[in-house]
Structures are given as structure tokens and as C-alpha cells.
């Protein structure tokens, strides 16, 4: 919709860190990223607000243009990005990895939902890591999605 996607870059040697902000949709522009020609891309989705079906198509098509020998890492993936990775073939290329992401947790005591930032390496056997509530500081948070489904991308 009107929340157009913007991108920023940090180039560190062979590594390009790409920060996305806004909605990934049919109007999203990835051409400038293609021109970076780095060996490693790190995509940061921390500020992606939304993604629609045309955005998915644009993203998948963009990935196909990146040479196969380029290493891809997804960082700070929001829940909607993780769900697209799980739902849509090609949203993450074979060999690419998700470095970190947000996961829904729930605190029974506070009756509140939390988006907890996790690293993929912390997820073992599709089990959500144990997290303590940052609000009440006493309750163990309950993972608030279906673990087998949510952590599909880690396999």
C-alpha cells in the first residue's frame, strides 16, 4: 500500500548488509541490490511492515537473479516474514540461512504476548528456547505458535 519499501546498505568488505523498511509489494524495487555484486548479502527485515502476494513474487524473482555462489543471510525476520518463508517455496533460497528472527511468546501471568528475538542456533530440535517474561521477571513464557510449523525454516 502506501508504506513503500526503502532500502539502506552497509558495505563491509565482501559483505553487504541490506536494511529493508516498509512494505514489500509489487512496487518494491530490488534493482539497486543486484548492482552491489558482493559475495555475501545479509538482509535485515527488522522494519518490514508487511508483505503481500505480489511482494512475494517480486522477492522470489529478485532472489533468482542473485548468483548461486553468493551467500545469503536473513536477519531480524519479523513473524510475517517467517510465515512467508514457511508458506512459500522460494522465499528463501536453498543454502541461505536465517540468522535471527522474532517469535511469539505468551506470558500467562501478565496475560500478554511478546515478540521475542531469537537466534536460529538457539532452536534445537524445533523446540522453542526457554524465555522468562521480561515484564514480570518470574514466569516462563509459553511459545505461542505451533513449534513444528513455525521452525520449519530451520530444517
Amino acid at each position: 500500500m502506501s508504506d513503500k519499501l526503502t532500502t539502506k546498505y552497509d558495505i563491509d568488505g565482501d559483505t553487504a548488509i541490506v536494511y529493508f523498511k516498509g512494505m514489500i509489494d509489487e512496487d518494491s524495487e530490488f534493482e539497486t541490490i543486484k548492482g552491489l555484486s558482493n559475495k555475501t548479502y545479509i538482509f535485515d527485515f527488522d522494519e518490514v511492515s508487511l508483505i503481500n502476494s505480489c511482494g512475494i513474487r517480486e522477492w522470489v524473482n529478485f532472489l533468482e537473479t542473485i548468483p548461486k555462489d553468493v551467500s545469503l543471510t536473513y536477519r531480524n525476520c519479523r513473524q510475517i516474514i517467517i510465515e512467508q518463508i514457511n508458506m512459500v517455496h522460494g522465499f528463501i533460497r536453498t543454502g541461505a540461512c536465517v540468522e535471527s528472527f522474532y517469535a511469539p511468546y505468551y506470558c500467562e501471568s501478565c496475560d500478554e504476548e511478546f515478540k521475542v528475538h531469537l537466534k536460529s542456533v538457539d532452536v534445537k530440535d524445533s523446540k522453542a528456547p526457554v524465555v522468562t517474561c521480561s515484564k514480570c521477571q518470574k514466569s516462563e513464557l509459553e511459545f505461542d505458535a505451533i513449534e513444528q510449523q513455525y521452525f520449519q525454516f530451520i530444517k
Binding site: 500500500m1 502506501s2 508504506d3 509489494d25 509489487e26 512496487d27 508487511l50 508483505i51 503481500n52 502476494s53 505480489c54 512475494i56 513474487r57 522470489v60 524473482n61 513473524q79 510475517i80 508458506m87 512459500v88 517455496h89 522460494g90 511469539p104 505468551y106 496475560d111 500478554e112 504476548e113 515478540k115 511459545f143 505461542d144 505458535a145 505451533i146 510449523q149
Partner: protein, 878 residues
């Protein structure tokens, strides 16, 4: 019921008497004996003191007298001494020594012989002691049984010294005056000078000396205490002592104590005997009263007790007898009251059978009613009858309430029952509410106008869509009509006015007039009695027509049973705990199109129980599948297009294995928490398609017209600001995706002919601009159960096959399409992010996609929910 008597009253009285008397006697005895002991002590001590004084005085006189005699003897010429000596009976002999140291001895032969001694024996005894006590002027000498007092005197005038041996008989005589006492004389060195009892060695010398007083009476002795009186004679250097054993001295006292004990026991025994007699007179009536209470407990009321005593117990007995009589009287009254109450209850029960069921589903209408009397029986009544595709309703309110009014309602009920028998023979009556009221009036007139009844009768003719009604002074009911489905306002409720006839039973000729209006499907007739309006709250304010009307307007969109419930709940919320002061009857009649019967064909017992327990479904549940309009099932082989299949499969399997391979239009996720609500809502949508309003309470709806993609930002803004109370944190993200996809699809599949082809193939970077006729209506709304998005276009082109084919492709490939136009994933995303995916297509007119998310706090529950699918298609001219 009786408790075992452990400590009887007799024993208590005995114990009290014994305690009182024993205590009194003991206190008196202790007090009196103490006084007596003190007095006795004073006497003993005083007497002892007198004794020692007297003893000392007499001994002193004796000694002095002997010295006087010695003085006389010292003055006598020797020749006369012998003669004088013989006159002194107590003198045994006298030793005389002149100034010139001439010694002479004189013997009183008579005195010596009185002692059974010869002179020679005496002289021998006397000689033994002469040398030993020569230096003392007074001493006592003992020889076996014989003893004597030796006194020496020197006459300083003539130088004569005399020494005499004197009998102790006088001393013994003195001591014998005090037979109770042991008297003795001690020398200052502790040696016994003389003792009335020779064997007594307990002299208490040291204790006497320790007292350091000249005379005293004291208690001495440790093992055997003595009362000892002593007097020290410094002149003679002698200590005079009299003593008596304390036990001996107080012998009388002990005797008195023992006598007192015996006396006390005698008194206590006597008192006990008297107490026993007294307690018997006390407990005997009490036992009688106790036995009477036992009889009461067994239900033997009316028994009496005979108590002759004129004390409190006698009064208590009288009270018991009176109470017994009163209980019998009260019981007979209670029996009578219970009989009457039972009859009233029976009347209430009988009257309750006059009323139709609370929820009635008829062929062409639903009737939902509420009735409650202000007392056991009420004066309100309502009833109905059906014939020839017509429905007759009567509501009536008798004057007053209670049993008389209830009897009048029985008459009204009988009238309708009679009329039911006349539906084929007297059509002119049953087809006219005015004639029905006249018929009822004649029946009630039999009561001579003592009881009256307001009534309203109406007839709904389904064939002619006509409502005919007549009124006998009853509150005019309301007719709710909202043909355009607008938000309900006051103007949608019309009172059924017209000529108002007299109350039933008031006049011989009722003069009731039939009024006519048209009535259509989904309209309501709301009948009620004045009790609902006139009942008051705690501030004595009546509920009134204004509040009643507001409640009607607020709740009118609800299904008929919920509508009635809400109206009654609103009224009772106003009344609070204040009892209603009149009977309340409320009847809502909703006209429906045709009978909806649904059948159940479920294998899973738990699910079957859950579904069949939905008694308050607005549609009747039939076992006959052939005549039902739809079937609720969990059997995968029963997937006719109008079946409601409850599926436990995943979303993917539901699309690929169920919807792809069948013509099923209704699939419900097995884990839907509000299964009944979902079924009811979709049944309503099936039979009375109203779109979004069949799913949520539309009071919070926000709608926006979308003409191009530029309007998406406004839609997003609406979604951002919308209130998602009681829902998980991130529904807005999902709602935005759903809205975006549905609106994108609607925009790019709008128009017709070339426009449609052009737009559907248009690059998605370019947005078509829709005309106002083509405008897409976006609506978001929520209630306590659901959050819903509705996207409604004006094409009516979205068909089941398009939807299912798209979903099948998406679930199979999980990839976008590389073609002109869209990515082909829009429906896939919208479906996946919805809990219910509903499509309502009016062929050629409009297509509405409704995506519903259940309101719940847990994202997990949202994610686990199997998405339900419902497809409704109506002909364009419907």
C-alpha cells in the same frame, strides 16, 4: 433425640447442699475452734503462771518458816530445845553448835519413826550427807525412799549455829495441790533441787536460762512440747518450774474438735437426707416435663402433664400444657394452609400448562415468549393456533392477579381450545380476530362483570401477507418492519392501532373491529402486557415505554430467541432486585420464509452430542435427511453442496482432498471453539443472506469505499486504529494482508467486458480507477466473538470453482504464478490467515468475501484453527 443424663439434678442439689453446709460448718468450726483454742491457751498459760506463783510462794513460806523455827531454836536454852523440837513435827533432828563450838544433837524420835526408821538407821543416813553438803544452808538429801531437807542457820547475835533435817512431806503437799502439773525446783547450776516426779529429767534448764527473764510461761520441747511456767528466785538461788504436756493441756480442745467433726457429719447426713427429699420434689415434675417433650418429639402432641407444685416448675408445667394445646391448634392451621398452598401450586401448575412453549418454531414463523406471574398465579395469558397457513395469536391480561385472575385466564385458554376445534366448521369466527374476541367476551360475561380482561388478537395470513387484528383495550403491540435492512430506528416499529373495543367481560356486545395491514418475511409482531412497562426499580421508577422502546431498537437485529432474551434481560436489569408488581408476558413473533429443517449425520459421538445439544437453533433438527434443507456431518463421503462438513483435516488437506474433489460449499474446522455460533450464523446466511450482519454485531463496523489502490492507505489507517480488545497482539498485520489481497483481487477483477480483461492482466504497479458504480465496499467490524473483514464488489463473478481452483494451485505449488497480472497467491494468503473464509456471491450482482478471525488472546489458538470455508451463491434476481 434424648441425651443421656450423666449428672442428674438430684446429685447436683445434693452436691450443692453438701458444699453449702459442709462449707458453713467448716468455716464456723475453724473460727469457733480457733477462738476456743486461743481462750484455752490463755487459760492454760494463766493457770500455769498462777500455779508457779503459788508453788513458789508456798515453798518460800515453807523455807522461811523453817528458818524462823531454826532462829527460835538457836535462841533456846539447850534444855528446852528438845522439847521444842518435838513440837516441830517436820523436823527429824537438830544439830546445835554454840558460840564456844560446843556441839549437841537433838532428835525428834516421833518424826523419825513416822518415816519407819529407827534412830540408829536415821543417824547413819544423816551422817552420810553431813560431810557432802555442809557448806550449803539449804539442801535436799535423798537416800532410797527417804529424803529430807537440810537447813542450816547461824544466829549472828549469839553465835549459835543450828542445822535441821526436815521432812519433805510439806513440800510434797504443796506440789500435790497442782496435780495436773509436774512441779520441780532447779538450782542455778541446773541441778535438780527437788522434783515432784523423781524420774523426770526433762527440766528445760537451758531453754529457761536462754529466755533471760525472771518468770514466764512458754512452750518448750521439740519432740514432746510442754507448756512450761518458771520463776527464778534470786534470793534463794532457785528456779521454780511447773510444766504440763501440751497435748495434755489441750486435751479438751482436741476432744472438742473430734466432737465437732462427728457433729458436722451428723448435720451433713441430715442435710443430705433433707436435700434428697427436696430434690425429689423438684426433679419429679421435671422428669414429667422431659417425658412430655419426648412424646412431642415423637409427634404425640396434645399430651398433658400433671404437676401439682405451685412454684416456677408448676408454672412451667402449665406453659407446657398450654403449648401442647397450641401446637395441636397450630398444626391443624398449618395443615389447612398447606392444603391451600398445595391447591395454589396445583393451580399454578395447571395454569402453566395453558401457556405454549417458550420457543416455538413453526412453518412460517418463530414464536419466542416470556411469562412470569407477580404471585403464585398470574392474570396474564397468551396462546396461538394454526390453521390453513394462518396463525392466530391472542394475548390477554385479567384485572388483578393471583388465583381469581388465573381462573379467568383458564376461561381464555378454553376459548382458544374451543376455537381450535372450530377452525374447519366456523371459519367466519376463526378468520376474524374481532369475532374471536367477541367469542371470548361472551364466555367471560358469564362471570357477571366481576372480572375483566384486556386482550389483543391477531391473525397472520402467510398466503396473503396480511395481518388482521382487533383490540379489547389491550396495550397495542408493535409491528417491526425494516424491508431495506437499515439500522433499526423508532420508525421501524409501528403500534398496531385502530378501534379499541371494551375489555372482555365488560359489555354484552363487544363491538370489536378488525384492522388490516400487510406483513412480510423477517418482520416481527411484538406483543406484551403492561407488567413489563409498569414494574418498578428500587427508586420506584417505572420501566416505561421509552426504555422498552430503546431496548427493542437495540436488540431487534438479533435472532428471535436472543431478541426476546435481551428485551427481558434489559427490563430485569432495570428492576434490579425489586419484585415485579404485575405479571409480565412478552411474545415476539418473527415471520420466516419457510420451514428450515436440518439433519445430523455425525459419527463422532462427542461431536454429535455437541451439535445435537444445540436446542436453541433457530431451525428444527430433523432425523429425516430427505426432508431437511441441509445436513451437518463429519462423514467425508457426505459432501453434498449444502452439507456442513465438520473436518479435522489440515487446511491443505481440506483444500486438496475435500473441496477439490467435491461440490461441498460448507466446511467447518473441527476445532472451532464457537461451533454452534458458526453453524447458526451460516445457516442464517443460507436462509436469510444479510452478509456481514449475519456474523457480527455491526455496531462497531467501519466501512470505506475503495476505487483504486490509492485508497489502501486509508484502509490501513482504519485497521491501525481499530480496537482489537481481547485479541492477540498482531491481528492487524494479518488483517492488512487479508484486506490488501482481497481489495487487490477485487480491483483487478472489476469491470466487465474489455475493462475486466484489461484490468485483470494489468501490471500490478498500475492501479485502475473504478467508477462509483464499480466501487468496492471495504468493511471491518468486530464483536465479542469475531473480527471480520468484508470486501464486497459489484461484479458477482467470484464463483466456488474460481476460489477452489486458485487455492488448490497455491496449496499444491506454494509458489506464485509467473503470468501477467497478479501473483496468484492472494486468496491463498487470505484463506491461510482467516479462521472462517466466507464467500457470498449474488450472481452478476455482487461478490462478498468475509474473512473472520476468532477473538482470542492466544496467537497459537489462531494458528491452530482449521479454516472454515463457506460459499453461498444466490441468483441475481433474488
Amino acid at each position: 433425640m434424648s441425651r443421656r443424663v450423666v449428672f442428674p439434678l438430684k446429685l447436683k442439689i445434693l452436691a450443692i447442699m453438701a458444699a453449702l453446709l459442709g462449707g458453713s460448718i467448716s468455716i464456723y468450726a475453724i473460727f469457733a475452734l480457733d477462738l476456743f483454742k486461743k481462750d484455752k491457751s490463755a487459760y492454760i498459760y494463766g493457770n500455769n503462771r498462777s500455779t508457779i506463783e503459788s508453788f513458789h510462794q508456798q515453798v518460800d513460806q515453807l523455807i522461811s518458816g523453817n528458818f524462823d523455827k531454826l532462829h527460835v531454836l538457836s535462841l533456846m536454852p539447850q534444855a528446852k530445845i528438845k522439847k521444842l523440837l518435838e513440837s516441830y513435827n517436820s523436823f527429824y533432828h537438830l544439830d546445835y553448835k554454840s558460840k564456844l563450838d560446843r556441839k549437841d544433837h537433838f532428835y525428834n524420835i516421833n518424826a523419825i519413826e513416822d518415816e519407819n526408821l529407827s534412830l540408829s538407821e536415821y543417824k547413819n543416813i544423816s551422817k552420810n550427807y553431813e560431810s557432802r553438803y555442809r557448806h550449803k544452808n539449804i539442801s535436799i538429801h535423798y537416800e532410797n525412799e527417804f529424803s529430807f531437807l537440810k537447813m542450816s542457820y547461824v544466829n549472828v547475835d549469839n553465835g549459835v549455829s543450828v542445822s535441821a533435817h526436815i521432812s519433805l512431806n510439806l513440800l510434797k503437799q504443796i506440789a500435790s495441790q497442782f496435780p495436773q502439773y509436774s512441779t520441780y525446783i532447779l538450782q542455778m547450776d541446773g541441778e535438780q533441787f527437788w522434783n515432784s516426779i523423781k524420774t523426770d529429767n526433762e527440766t528445760f534448764f537451758n531453754e529457761i536460762i536462754e529466755k533471760k527473764v525472771e518468770k514466764a510461761v512458754v512452750e518448750l520441747g521439740i519432740q514432746e512440747p510442754y507448756i512450761v511456767a518458771f520463776k527464778i528466785d534470786p534470793k534463794r538461788k532457785l528456779i521454780f518450774v511447773s510444766k504440763i504436756k501440751k497435748s495434755e493441756a489441750y486435751k479438751v480442745n482436741d476432744y472438742l474438735v473430734n466432737k465437732s467433726k462427728v457433729f458436722g457429719i451428723v448435720i451433713l447426713s441430715l442435710a443430705g437426707f433433707i436435700a434428697l427429699l427436696f430434690s425429689r420434689s423438684l426433679t419429679s415434675p421435671l422428669e414429667s416435663l422431659y417425658n412430655l417433650t419426648i412424646k412431642f418429639s415423637k409427634g404425640e402432641f396434645g399430651e398433658k402433664v400433671l404437676i401439682k407444685s405451685r412454684d416456677e416448675i408448676g408454672s412451667l408445667g402449665e406453659s407446657f400444657n398450654f403449648m401442647s394445646g397450641e401446637i395441636v391448634r397450630y398444626m391443624s392451621e398449618m395443615e389447612e394452609k398447606a392444603r391451600l398452598e398445595n391447591e395454589v401450586k396445583t393451580a399454578k401448575y395447571v395454569q402453566s400448562n395453558y401457556f405454549p412453549a417458550k420457543e416455538i418454531s413453526l412453518e412460517r414463523s418463530t414464536l419466542s415468549s416470556f411469562y412470569t406471574p407477580a404471585s403464585e398465579c398470574g392474570g396474564d395469558w397468551w396462546g396461538y393456533m394454526e390453521f390453513d397457513n394462518k396463525l392466530v395469536l391472542v394475548i390477554a391480561d385479567a384485572t388483578g392477579h393471583g388465583v381469581p385472575a388465573a381462573l379467568l385466564t383458564a376461561t381464555a385458554h378454553c376459548c382458544i381450545e374451543n376455537l381450535k376445534q372450530m377452525t374447519s366448521t366456523n371459519k367466519d369466527i376463526v378468520n376474524s380476530p374481532a369475532r374471536i374476541l367477541e367469542f371470548m367476551n361472551k364466555s367471560i360475561l358469564c362471570l357477571d362483570g366481576k372480572l375483566l380482561m384486556t386482550a389483543f388478537c391477531c391473525l397472520i395470513d402467510y398466503d396473503s401477507n396480511t395481518l388482521i387484528y382487533a383490540n379489547a383495550s389491550h396495550n397495542p403491540p408493535f409491528h417491526y418492519s425494516n424491508p431495506n435492512g437499515e439500522e433499526a430506528t423508532k420508525s421501524h416499529f409501528s403500534p398496531l392501532l385502530g378501534v379499541v373495543g371494551p375489555r372482555l367481560g365488560h359489555k354484552t356486545d363487544g363491538e370489536y373491529i378488525d384492522e388490516r395491514i400487510s406483513i412480510n418475511d423477517r418482520e416481527k409482531i411484538i406483543l406484551f402486557t403492561d407488567g413489563i412497562l409498569e414494574s418498578q426499580n428500587s427508586d420506584e421508577k417505572e420501566y416505561g415505554q421509552r426504555r422498552f422502546f430503546k431496548s427493542l431498537i437495540k436488540n431487534t437485529l438479533k435472532e428471535n430467541a436472543d431478541f426476546k432474551k435481551s428485551i427481558i434481560d434489559d427490563a430485569y436489569e432495570f428492576y434490579g432486585k425489586t419484585p415485579i408488581n404485575d405479571d409480565i408476558t412478552f411474545v415476539s413473533v418473527e415471520i420466516i420464509k419457510k420451514t428450515k429443517k436440518i439433519s445430523i449425520d455425525i459419527n463422532d459421538d462427542e461431536l454429535k452430542s455437541e451439535v445435537t445439544s444445540m436446542h436453541d437453533l433457530p431451525y428444527s433438527i430433523s432425523t429425516d435427511e430427505c426432508h431437511s434443507i441441509t445436513t451437518i456431518t463429519d462423514r467425508m463421503d457426505n459432501t453434498g453442496e449444502n452439507c456442513f462438513l465438520i473436518s479435522s483435516l489440515s487446511d491443505e488437506d481440506n483444500i486438496l482432498k475435500v473441496l477439490k474433489t467435491s461440490s461441498l460449499n460448507h466446511l467447518i474446522g473441527r476445532n472451532a471453539k464457537k461451533m454452534k455460533l458458526e453453524i447458526v450464523n451460516n445457516l442464517k446466511q443460507m436462509f436469510a443472506p444479510k452478509g456481514l450482519s449475519n456474523y457480527i454485531n455491526c455496531s462497531k463496523n467501519i466501512a470505506h469505499l475503495v476505487l483504486s489502490k490509492n485508497d489502501f492507505s486509508k484502509v490501513n489507517s482504519i485497521l491501525d486504529k481499530f480496537n482489537y480488545d481481547h485479541c492477540f497482539q498482531s491481528p492487524v498485520d494479518y488483517l492488512k494482508i487479508i484486506s490488501n489481497e482481497l481489495l487487490t483481487n477485487a480491483i483487478y477483477h472489476s469491470g466487465s467486458g474489455e475493462d475486466f480483461i484489461k484490468r485483470s492482466q494489468m501490471d500490478r504497479n498500475i492501479s485502475p480507477i473504478l467508477s462509483e458504480e464499480e466501487a468496492i465496499v471495504f468493511t471491518v467490524g468486530s464483536d465479542e466473538n469475531y473480527i471480520a473483514i468484508s470486501v464486497k464488489d459489484s461484479t458477482g463473478r467470484l464463483k466456488r470453482s474460481d476460489i477452489v481452483n486458485n487455492l488448490v494451485r497455491s496449496f499444491e505449488s506454494k509458489q506464485h504464478e509467473n503470468k501477467e497480472g497478479g501473483a496468484g497467491l492472494g486468496l491463498y494468503l487470505a484463506y491461510s490467515y482467516s479462521n472462517q473464509f466466507i464467500v457470498n456471491t449474488i450472481d452478476g450482482k455482487s461478490s462478498e468475501v468475509i474473512c473472520i478471525i476468532d477473538v482470542n488472546k492466544r496467537l497459537k489458538a489462531y494458528k491452530e484453527r482449521i479454516t472454515s470455508f463457506h460459499y453461498f451463491e444466490q441468483k441475481g434476481n433474488t
